[in-house]
């Protein structure tokens, strides 16, 4: 088995913590402090994380950010633990339980008194949107609590090792990873109460947020919410699409750039949007071979500069191509692709097999909005923004009073846009809860101007149209 942990990397440094061992089905597994259970197991060579319920097919991880539940195992007797977002601990006992976990018994924990607390502002999600919302509201004087599932806020910025686009003032040219750290530090300084490793479990009437934190159930009675829960990776239908080795691009990015573990040896990238192109480049940087990038549309989806970058490294980009099958016994050993015509019909005679051990799906993201649906926010399908998004005012307020949205949950766009939306939502919510003042108005104007700038030009056209469709008047929002 080849070493999966990355030690030398051109732009990243992995400061691994203390080495220790935990137990997986009777076997000792090495892990480093800070590593998730899934990462340590993957680095050890495990690819089959669970067995599916009915078809009894092996499954690997998929999203690596706690959204898809493909990685659930039993940890110290507790079933259904998402191992990709749970840190490994010394002497932990981990087991696969497949579809039929054992009843945990009553000694795994005990109901504790439910804590209920009143707070002014709850920010849900610690990515660029959530952090900027928190920073802005705190700067204006609000009491802000930020809930984030990860151990360090920064959201998906943490895995962005490339320098950022956007305007120089908005941190372009700085690597995402650094922007994330800077924002988190600023939030901390401004007195934002950051609650890491906290799962938001749902919304209850009237403006109550339920969370699981430090093993207990807590209810926050809040004055207002900025929801910045981010996005979900799209999945794709093709034969054997559930094989271990078929991973989401975000999952691959997390594993590689946050955890310092390469997914495999040779990758077929499906999708040529910026995510597909950037992750391909990052794979090359980590020393992984990228066989090809395929794209179903007739043109490349992402920026020319990103495409040129990987072409210079010899990676072909095949447009009008689609994947039909993952080849292998019970995990990926290759892929079958073919060309499609304008009507998405197969072009006969173009079918061919590609050698690869990983199929990486970069077929788009869609807004994660389940919390907002629980809160009765009115939704609308906006293809330009990646799926169902909440209706909102110009100030990012949803149709439910006191609930704002920002970032990918409001529509899939770039990180800079997410940060600007966060700034706008944070200021607007502060304004709703307080007296009007000049500084708040100024920050709102600044954010709106930035957003307008970012959505100019041909690449801004799609989001510009999308945002127009789902932005409604104050009155509609009630």
């Amino acid at each position: 088995m080849s070493e999966k942990r990355i030690f030398d990397h051109p732009v990243l440094k992995f400061d691994r913590g203390q080495e220790f061992y935990f137990e997986f089905e009777g076997k000792k597994i090495k892990a480093y402090e800070g590593e998730t259970i899934a990462s340590a197991l993957y680095a050890d060579g495990l690819t089959k994380f669970t067995e599916s319920k009915i078809l009894e097919r092996p499954r690997g991880f998929f999203c690596a950010i706690g959204k898809c539940s493909s990685c659930i195992m039993s940890v110290n007797g507790r079933p259904h633990v998402r191992t990709c977002v749970t840190q490994a601990e010394e002497n932990m006992k981990v087991e696969r339980h497949g579809a039929r976990p054992k009843f945990p018994g009553i000694d795994v924990g005990r109901g504790k008194e439910i804590k209920e607390k009143e707070i002014e502002i709850a920010i849900i999600g610690g990515g660029p949107a959530g952090l900027m919302a928190a920073i802005t509201a705190a700067k204006l004087g609000s009491e802000v609590h930020l809930f984030d599932e990860g151990s360090n806020p920064g959201g998906q910025l943490i895995k962005q090792t490339h320098q950022f686009f956007g305007s120089h003032e908005e941190d372009a040219g700085t690597r995402g990873i650094v922007i994330g750290e800077n924002l988190a530090e600023e939030a901390q300084k401004l007195g934002v109460n950051i609650h890491p490793k906290t799962k938001v479990l749902g919304y209850y009437f009237d403006r109550k947020v339920a969370v699981e934190r430090k093993g207990r159930f807590e209810i926050y009675d809040v004055g207002g919410i900025v929801y910045a829960g981010g996005a979900i990776e799209n999945y794709l239908a093709f034969e054997n699409n559930d094989f271990p080795g078929v991973y989401g691009a975000g999952g691959v990015q997390t594993l590689m750039n946050e955890e310092g573990i390469v997914p495999g040896e040779k990758v077929l990238m499906v999708g040529s949007g910026n995510v597909g192109l950037i992750v391909s480049y990052q794979l090359l940087q980590a020393g992984v071979d990228v066989a090809e990038v395929i794209e179903a549309l007739p043109t490349i989806g992402g920026y020319q500069v990103h495409a040129s970058k990987i072409r210079r490294a010899g990676v072909p980009i095949q447009t009008s191509h689609t994947i039909v099958k993952a080849v292998g016994e019970d995990e990926v050993e290759g892929a079958v692709v073919h060309q499609v015509d304008e009507d998405w019909k197969k072009v006969e005679g173009t079918e061919r097999k590609i050698d690869c051990d990983i199929i990486c799906l970069a077929v788009g993201l869609r807004p994660d909005t389940s919390f907002l649906r629980q809160a009765d926010c009115e939704m609308e399908y906006v293809a330009e923004l990646g799926g169902f998004v909440p209706l909102r005012t110009e100030d990012m307020r949803t149709t439910t009073k006191g609930i704002y949205v920002a970032g990918d949950s409001a529509g899939i766009e770039e990180a800079t846009v997410a940060a600007l939306e966060g700034k706008l939502a944070g200021a607007a919510l502060h304004e709703e809860l307080n007296e009007e003042d000049e500084e708040t108005k100024r920050l709102k104007r600044e954010a709106k101007k930035g957003l307008e700038q970012m959505r100019k030009g041909p690449y801004g056209k799609v989001p510009r149209l999308g945002v127009k469709t789902c932005t409604v008047d104050e009155e509609v929002c009630g």
Binding site: R175, I300, K309, R312
Partner: protein
């Protein structure tokens, strides 16, 4: 179809390039950034004000007479789309400076394999300069004059 939209490879005619006279005069920047993307670090970094943009989504507008070919912008471009060429010092050789973010990092004097925009091998070339800013290197190669419009990357040999 063969435009960069389909191939990811830009052609000379897609770009805004300096004229022959300017190229002969001394080092000069080549920005292979041809779409209207929201990005502008190249404007901010140039201390000679040689790069301009009205809107952030414009393509960089370069004043080739002001550009000194200093190469500062090469490592600042998040698209790794900026190169510097120097055709002023020899009859048959030219220098090409390319951004580089892989391992291993070559040293001055090393021989590397120069690659074109498709990653295809062009010629063996000598590394004449290695500069670093942040995590990005700007590596200068000496190539055959006829290859100055082809070489845009390299691979370390061995």
């Amino acid at each position: 179809m063969s435009g960069h939209e389909n191939t990811g490879v830009v052609r000379k005619e897609d770009m805004n390039i300096p004229d022959e006279e300017r190229i002969e005069k001394g080092p000069v920047v080549i920005m292979e950034c041809v779409e209207n993307i929201p990005c502008n670090p190249c404007v901010a970094v140039c201390s000679f004000d040689a790069v301009k943009m009205k809107e952030i989504t414009d393509t960089p507008e370069i004043d080739f007479d002001t550009c000194t070919g200093c190469g500062l912008c090469v490592t600042e471009c998040p698209g790794l789309a900026i190169f510097v060429i120097d055709c002023s010092y020899s009859e048959d050789k030219c220098k090409v400076t390319v951004p580089y973010e892989y391992l291993p990092v070559p040293e001055e004097g090393d021989e590397v394999m120069a690659l074109d925009r498709k990653g295809e091998e062009v010629e063996k070339a000598e590394v004449t300069d290695v500069r670093k800013s942040g995590k990005t290197y700007a590596v200068t190669l000496e190539v055959d004059r006829k290859n100055v419009w082809n070489v845009r990357g390299f691979e370390v040999i061995g």
